[in-house]
C-alpha cells in the first residue's frame, strides 16, 4: 500500500513540476528570439527523446519479465516500418497492434 502522504506529495509536486517544465521557455522567454544553435538542437528533441524512451521497452518488455519477445519485436518493426513508409500514424498503430495480436495468437 502506498503511503498517502508520499502519494499526494508526488501528485502535487509532479503536477507543478510538469507545468513548470512546459511553461519555462514559452512562458518566461516570450517572443525573444532564441540563438540559432539552440534552435538547431531543439529541432531534434522529439526524435532524440522518443526513440530512447521506446528502445528499452521493445528490447526488454516488462510484460515478459524483460525477455526479448518475438510478437512484440515483430509488432515494433511493423509499426516503425509502416510509419516510415506511409507517414500514417494510425495505420502504423493498427498494423502494429494487428501484428502483436496475430503473433501472440500464433505463438502464445
Amino acid at each position: 500500500m502506498i503511503d498517502p502522504v508520499a502519494l499526494w506529495t508526488v501528485i502535487i509536486l509532479l503536477g507543478l513540476g510538469s507545468f513548470a517544465l512546459r511553461f519555462v521557455f514559452i512562458g518566461l522567454i516570450g517572443d525573444k528570439p532564441l540563438p540559432d544553435w539552440i534552435l538547431r538542437h531543439l529541432r531534434y528533441t522529439a526524435v532524440a527523446v522518443l526513440p530512447g524512451l521506446v528502445a528499452p521497452l521493445v528490447v526488454w518488455p516488462e510484460a515478459t519479465g524483460g525477455q526479448l519477445d518475438a510478437p512484440r519485436m515483430a509488432a515494433a518493426v511493423v509499426t516503425l516500418a509502416t510509419g516510415l513508409w506511409t507517414r500514417n500514424v494510425v495505420l502504423a498503430i493498427c498494423l502494429g497492434a494487428g501484428t502483436l495480436y496475430g503473433g501472440l495468437y500464433l505463438l502464445g
Partner: protein
Amino acid sequence: MATETTKSIFWQGVRDGAPFILVIIPFSTLFGVVATEAGLNVFETLTFSVLVIAGAAQFTAVELLRNDAPTVIALVSALAVNLRMAMYSASLVPYLGQASVGQRALAAYFTVDQTYACAVLKFEQNPDWTIGQRLTYFFSVALPICPLWYIFTVVGAMIGGSIPEGLALDFAIPVTFLALIGPMLRTRAHVAAALVSVTVALLLAFLPYNLGLLVAGLAGMMAGAEVERRMGGVA
C-alpha cells in the same frame, strides 16, 4: 495573407488530433488500471491525470511508488521523463511566443507529445498563420485528446483488475511511440538523432532513475544538430 479561415483551422486541428483517440483511450485506461492495482482510489488516479497530464511520467511515478521507492526518487524520475516538455516548450517559442501570458500558460498545460508533434509540423508548413490561428490549431488538437485522457483514466480506475492480461496493453506505449517516430525520420539528421538516442539509451539502460534516457536525449539532439550543420542549414 492567410488563405484559411480560423474556423477551417479549428476543424483541421480536431481532425489531426482525432486519430490519437485510438491511442489515448487504451493508454489512459491502462493508467487507471495500473494505478488502481497499485492501491490508488478513483479520485487520486483522476487527480494524477489532470494535474500531470503526461502518461509516461505518470506510469513512472506510480511504478516507483508501488515499489516503495523514496518519494524524492519517484518525483525526480518522473520529472526526468517529462524533461522533454521543456524542450517542446522551447521549440514552441518562435510560434506561440507572442501570445498573452494567460494563453501561453494554457498552451503550456496542454503541451503533450501529440499536440506538440501536430503543432510543430503544421506551424512549419504554414508560416503565414497568425498567432490567433496558431493558438486555435493548438487547442483544437488538444480537444479530442485531453478530455478523453481524464475520462478514460476514470474508466480504467473503475474497471480495475478485470482486464485480461492477454490483451497485452503493456505494448500500447511502445507501439504508440514507434508510430509517432516513423514519420519524424524525414532527413539524415533526424535519422542520426534517433539512432544515437536508441544506442545510448540501450547502453545506459543500467543507470537508475531514467538517467540513461536523459543522456540519450541530449546525445541524440547533438547528433541531429551536428549532422544538420555539416549538411549546411536545415536538412
